[in-house]
Symmetry: C2
Subunit: 120 residues, 2 copies
């Protein structure tokens, strides 16, 4: 079962993604998979000063979008996919109760397909 989400925690998650650097960090972690990446590697890959990076990682972590685990002297960060799914599910909750919602062209995979994939 997918975790329920309160509106305020969805706002926190969205706010944490609504920043150029944090979005880049999150996407990098999504691509890195469950192995994740140490803070230092992220700083180097994205060219962000350590103190700023730490601030942003803490932000994403507080919002629940990234996890943290220690390995040797490094802190490894990972994207939290379940949380991401919960967020998207929350956004699309009760999609189109009134009518069909796909103004999409044929062949497009749009909101209805998305909802099906996530909430069933």
């Amino acid at each position: 079962m997918i975790m329920e989400m309160k509106s305020s925690s969805a706002v926190d998650a969205l706010a944490s993604l609504a920043h150029e650097n944090r979005l880049a960090i999150f996407r990098l972690l999504v691509q890195a998979g469950k192995a994740g990446l140490p803070a230092g590697a992220i700083a180097e890959r994205l060219g962000i000063p350590n103190s700023s990076l730490s601030f942003h990682l803490a932000h994403l972590n507080r919002a629940g979008l990234v996890g943290q685990k220690r390995q040797g002297r490094s802190l490894i960060y990972t994207a939290d996919y379940a949380r991401m799914d919960a967020l998207v599910g929350f956004l699309m909750e009760n999609c189109c109760e009134a009518a069909a919602c796909a103004p999409a062209a044929d062949g497009d995979v749009s909101a209805p397909a998305l909802r099906k994939g996530l909430t069933t």
Copy 2:
């Protein structure tokens, strides 16, 4: 085909959703379907003063998440599902290139399913 998205426009979209009132507005419009809702109905349903609502609707509109059309003397707002899909697709782009990304429990529909549904 799903629209490509630049990082900066994804940030705009996320920032526009990262606010309690705007998130409520967007979700209400998602539920309203393609018929949408006039500004006045939104204000009444959510108890937001007109001037504030107008500010938030403009914000969402600038970010491309809601559309606007006139009908009589009312302005009807609608959620843009395609834009939403593009945003989610952008977040999950190249998900887990390094390894499997589902730490999810059996039965959960997680990121990999999401990606499949969106990008193929």
